[in-house]
Amino acid sequence: MPTITRQLHQSLLSGAVTSTALVQRCLNQIAARDGQVKAFLQIDADNALAQAAAIDARRQSGQSAGRFAGLPVGLKDNICVMGATATCGSRILENFISPYDSHVAERLKAEGAVLLGRTNLDEFAMGSSCENSAFAVTRNPWDLERAPGGSSGGSAAAVSAGMLPLSLGSDTGGSIRQPAALCGIVGMKPTYGRVSRYGLVAYASSLDQIGPFAGDVYGAALIMEAIAGHDRRDSTSVNLPVPSYTQTVDQPLAGLKIGVAREHFVEGLDPAVEQSVRAAIEVYRSLGATIIEVSLPRSRYCVAVYYMVASSEASSNLSRFDGVHYGHRSENHGNLAEMYAASRAEGFGDEVKRRIMLGTYALSAGYYDAYYKKALQVRRLIREDFDAAFQSVDLILSPVTPSSAFKIGELTSDPLAMYLQDIYTLSANLAGIPGLSIPCGYSPSGLPIGLQLLGPHFSEDRLLRAARMYESVTDWHSRRPAIAVD
């Protein structure tokens, strides 16, 4: 099963492969492997085959089969699709079926993608390992004892394990880029406002963005082309034209100036990761790029600021899950207050409760100024750091994660160590800038290592082209885990 989107897409467009055949192969691979990997929470095979058949029929009758021409895409189970679950990996939404389509689901359907299944995630996208899901622990296809990363771990593992060529995740602090890195695939968090959040179940509204996973840069460009753009249902969606990313992705960037921040290469970074990232810097140098040292002095505040902002917003966003109108309602209650308390106590997992409590505290009277307001002020400074750096460079290159995939259970007892998984990715969300993760090597034990490219606001086109430059002279992306071979 090829996971290189470009070839698959060509075969579909040329008619060499039908969508039905491709979807059937994906379903076979899922049937064979997902018992071990547990990337999916729900698969509706009949529905997927029906979508594929409809697209094939369009193509056969000479009509357009759409931009995707029947490529299957998996959606993280916090992105609403009409008639499908949107559990968010939580007991509280275990039986919730969305009565409406998210913006991205509408776009994918309109562009001839087959929506194939719902992928696992950390509950409400809170976590970096997929261990916080109430329903399943997703495994890293490269080593089933290890975590795929999170929170979009199911979407990353599904692509990595060859069950799907493409998937969507959401990235609030690194939830696309970190699992992409740990699973050896491409993942991208767009600029805040580039993709409509309408229909994405909110974790932290000012940080959340939907973005793609793919086996190659082309696949990420293809998805971005389809889902980016203005949507009047999301007030924070920006009305800017969407470049034809797949048209430009193969054009190398001349005179590229790449920034490397000294703050990104400090204690805590695994030597194998550092070595791979430094080797990638040399690849870019050999491609004609100039490497310039930049400084992001406020990086060290990112974790603190992120957990203040994200938890505060989460504490508010998750208020609606109260057992009144939908979702889990406890049987054990006498009055209204008890109903709220019991429903939420039974419905939410520990990490979600931890963040709701943290956020509730930060927004409380008497603490707001010291915590939430202060965090917003520092957030602005973090953004200013990036603005200043991008005065002199086109991109900033860094590790994605401090280490390659960790063992399942290794970090669950230490939330703070888990939080540090996102130390390199959080700042992009706080600054609202786009970030991309691409495979750049393997650890001595054969686990994937990711390279992060960060760019100024709305520089997705530049990020994709720069990533493609690297991809075209390296072959990390063509390695697949053994489990992906069908």
Partner: protein, 497 residues
């Protein structure tokens, strides 16, 4: 014991936008079909996002300008967080520190023309909640929630505690209601809840002639008629005074907090409510799903220019332009823009504003009340009444005659006929109501009447003024439509020679 009553009002006005404040659902009172005017946004479904309705901002800013407020050039949205079944998101999207409008005032005038000004602290936009419906059968069935109302745009207008009596509170609320009606920003239907009022009430008591103490502030909730505002505050003043005499509790004492009380109109008392205020920390923070709203000075001027005439301005104009008394001007203006427009049309058509005012405030008003009609439904149009009164003004018809025509018109309408302007003259003709100004005809009739009225003439000459009545009657019989006053004058001239 000397005391001053201190009252501030919080008024929630549902704005009559076409759609709800953050979604495309229709904004319409519809309690009979619960949960039919909803969508993922106002149901608070996971993943849904709000989008601000520009019309709500416009209507809110119109109201702010009419209340002499400053329009905040940069305003934003904040989440007010609490759990309640009628609040599907677990927070209400509102405005906290940057309200849409700030620092205005509203004035009322007594019939003597004395102005009372109450300052407006702020007016901010927010979304209305749904409605909880509890089982009242006593069988303990589940409560239900109707979210048709959830997301209706609300303007919350908060006054300063400048009001000093229950009557004044009622008068201010009536003036506000009238202003909103003239602006057309709300249906202002208190029964349906499109105008809801809470009152903050306490007393400043003069205990020893030189220092004052304040009784605990009580927020009286859900006053849904003008009568209940007045009655509830009157009750509350009495209750607080008695309470103070009993306990001496005042602001500043340990454990004294703002109290929330409900008003029972039927039983006529306020009762303690378990206020959500009690341990409430709303944890306001800026809503990350909405963008701030900026308004340019040019835009504010544009709205200002587009505002209709306010009631206060209209009363002043009626006094200047039409020479009405403040009383008459108020009676007309206070009945709403519809009646005021009706009056103006009548006054302009007949050319006698005083005459028009008399008819509109008496005859028309009475028949509207009797028939329970609005002015828009009244069968005698302003054009028709204007034409009728014009006959009085030019001397073709007496006021008495006009009343007969008016009554006939109403009677015709009651028989289901559509009234036309030509009918006025037809009725005058039919009833021979036209004033006869032909002096030749009158002369002849008087001469003829005097011929067989020698006794009456003698009596009159002997000083019995009323003896002439019979002669006037004879003349009137001979000349239908003669003006009795004119006939009498002519008679006297003739007898006196």
């Amino acid at each position: 014991m000397n005391f001053t009553t201190i009252i501030g009002l919080e008024v929630h006005v549902q704005l009559n936008t076409r759609t709800k404040i953050f979604c495309g659902c229709v904004n319409k009172f519809n309690p009979d079909q619960p949960n039919t005017q909803t969508c993922p946004v106002c149901l608070g479904l996971p993943g849904s996002l709000p989008v601000i309705n520009r019309e709500a901002i416009h209507l809110g800013q119109m109201t702010g300008l009419a209340l002499n407020c400053t329009i905040t050039p940069f305003t934003k949205w904040d989440r007010k967080q609490y759990f309640y079944p009628d609040l599907p998101k677990g927070y209400q999207t509102s405005q906290f520190d940057l309200p849409l409008c700030q620092n205005g005032y509203i004035e009322t005038f007594s019939h003597e023309g004395e102005a009372r000004r109450v300052r407006i602290l702020r007016a901010h936009l927010e979304e209305d909640a749904g409605k909880n419906m509890h089982d009242e059968s006593g069988r303990g069935r589940d409560s239900q929630v109707d979210l048709n109302r959830a997301g209706t745009p609300l303007l919350e207008i908060v006054s300063q505690p400048d009001i000093r009596s229950a009557q004044e509170a009622k008068a201010i609320l009536e003036e506000l209601h009238l202003l909103l009606t003239y602006l057309g920003v709300s249906d202002c239907n208190m029964q349906e809840g499109s105008l809801r009022c809470d009152a903050n009430v306490n007393l400043h008591i003069d205990t020893d002639g030189c220092s004052k103490v304040a009784t605990p502030i009580v927020e009286v909730k859900n006053l849904n008629s003008f009568r209940s505002i007045e009655a509830a505050i009157e009750y509350e003043v009495k209750r607080q005074l008695e309470e103070f005499q009993k306990t001496g509790r005042k602001i500043g004492d340990p454990g004294v907090e703002k109290e929330t009380r409900g008003w029972d109109m039927e039983r006529g008392y306020t009762f303690a409510q378990r206020g959500k205020e009690e341990a409430a920390d709303y944890r306001y923070f800026p809503c990350p799903d909405l963008v701030p709203v900026t308004t340019s000075p040019e835009r504010i001027e544009e709205i200002r220019r587009s505002l209709p005439e306010f009631p206060a301005q209209r009363r002043a104009r009626y006094r200047q332009e039409f020479g009405l008394s403040l009383y008459d001007a108020s009676v007309i203006v206070n009945q709403g823009a519809g009646l005021a427009r009706y009056f103006e049309t009548v006054a302009n058509l007949c050319g006698d504003a005083k005459q028009a005012a008399n008819w509109v405030t008496q005859d028309v008003q009475r028949d509207l009340n009797d028939r329970k009609l609005t002015i828009g439904e009244f069968p005698i149009s302003a054009e028709l009444l204007g034409q009728l009164l014009k006959r009085i003004v030019v001397g073709d018809l007496t006021v008495k005659g006009a009343r007969e025509v008016y009554a006939q018109l109403l009677a015709d309408s009651d028989e289901g006929q559509t009234l036309l302007v030509d009918w006025i003259d037809a009725i005058i003709e039919e009833k021979s109501l036209k004033v006869v100004n032909d002096t030749g005809l009158l002369d002849a009739a008087i001469t003829s009447a005097l011929e067989d009225s020698q006794k009456a003439i003698d009596d009159y000459k002997a000083g019995k003024q009323q003896a002439l009545g019979a002669v006037v009657g004879k003349v009137m019989k001979l000349v239908k439509g003669a003006d009795a006053k004119v006939v009498r004058e002519m008679l006297i001239r003739k007898i006196d020679g």
